[in-house]
Amino acid sequence: MSFWINPLKVAADWLEGLLTGWGLDPTLAHVLVAFLGVMLLIVILMVIDIFLVWIERKTVARFQDRLGPNRLGPFGLIQPFADIIKLIIKEDTTPGGADKVVYNLAPILSMMSVLVVWAVVPLAPVMLGVDLNVGVLFLIAAGAIGTLSIIMAGWSSNNKFALIGGFRQVAVMVAFEIPMLTMLMIPTILAGSMNMNDIIQAQGGRWFFLLSPLGALIFLIAAIAELGRAPFDLAEGESELVAGFNIEYSGMKFGMFYAGELLHAMTFGGIWAILFFGGYRFFGLELVSPFLAIPIFLAKALIGYWIIMWVKYTMMRIRIDQMLIFNWVFLTPLSFVLLMVTALLNVLLRDASTWVYAVSMFASNLLVGWIALEVARSMSKKERTKGEGNSLSLRRGVG
């Protein structure tokens, strides 16, 4: 096996041979090499995370017609390292009356929940941490730890703003998890498997985005809400809550929340790419070498991340009642209808030709989306003509 086809396997075999050559037990050598592999993956992720700070700052600067960091190093590339040094030498204050264990555990869990997701992310056809057959379910489980870290941070800080911010954020995350879970099922149905690598392999020839554009859109909206980014960033609400759940955190603990959020955003870009845009697939180039497949996947993930940033820096914040009603009354029923339509078409068109199948899937998605928008429009029009003054009525959030 050549190094260019499967570099990790070659390196692992060489290392295992070396270790057993030194007289180590083969099982122990295997475990040690696996441990080193995990270390390598996490270290690479942390390095990417450091540069995400630079990417985010540079991009927001461009959106706001500024230059962004440009003093330290070429294009300000050294800036994130200066940020880290600053965060490290800041004092970690703990508010009086805080629950110390929970307070200190929350930022660790926040970072951990994001890093763990990458265990099931296939970077290349031959390079994936764990080939889990319930990969999609694992994503949900890891995401739930992130939700937990936010309520832990909000509750343990002994601060009213943190508590309100934490509750709001968790309410939004929990509510938008429903459409997200439903949309995770659409690639599962199309591929017939929850394994991430199987989902990518099933996208040969056509990406799932072409079969389910509405599904990809709903997943993106739910992902943005899950991240707590604008327009769903009311947990932050700087004019009312100062900074939301992480208000009492300083120094590196705040840094963990911040870095975790950035990496989470890119992770969602990556998951979006895997589920709907073929992951590392790009016209057969991924088969040449993992050294081509990984940049393809990272580029897709970064494009997804860029779209999330684009939405964040363009949209304004919406109120919590609008947000939750948008979810319960519009997004959740729509996602269930879309799921059933997808399943029905998959059963009916099982024997149809590829073109008929693809075109009818695409058309059905557009039709479902158009009908949903028309229903929402007519409902909100009815609500407006009723004229209920300032009361926050049920259907207003939709229109």
Binding site: V43, L87, M112, V116, A119, V130, N346, L394
Partner: protein, 118 residues
């Protein structure tokens, strides 16, 4: 199979360790000068009054209950989503009936005003 879950356990352990080290670095190099004013909860410069952890509106808990309703629905949908090619039209109709039953609960919650904020 088991080996894969061990790998995930290692991943969780290493990820926790790395995050812990990063925070430990902050503890190591940061100054430690505690004072009464510093340990006060931040309330935009005002002296905080009352407890920090207080009762929250029941609406948040309502969302949590609604979440459980739908989450369990999704948990039952997941195995069907994988095997539905084998189950065919029969499985689809079964699932449609299941979703309609949950739809009744959804309509009831909507009618009761549980989906409304305020």
């Amino acid at each position: 199979m088991l080996l894969e879950y061990i790998a995930i356990a290692v991943m969780i352990a290493v990820a926790t360790l790395i995050a812990g080290i990063a925070i430990g670095l902050g503890e190591l190099f940061g100054p430690k000068k505690a004072s009464a004013a510093k340990s006060m909860p931040y309330e935009s410069g005002m002296n905080p009054y009352g407890e920090g952890t207080r009762r929250m509106p029941v609406r948040f808990y309502l969302i949590a209950v609604l979440f459980i309703l739908f989450d369990i629905e999704v948990v039952f949908l997941l195995p069907w989503a994988i095997t539905f090619r084998k189950l065919g039209l029969f499985g689809l109709i079964e699932m449609a009936i299941f979703i309609v039953i949950l739809l009744i609960g959804y309509v009831y919650a909507w009618g009761k005003g549980a989906l409304e904020w305020e």
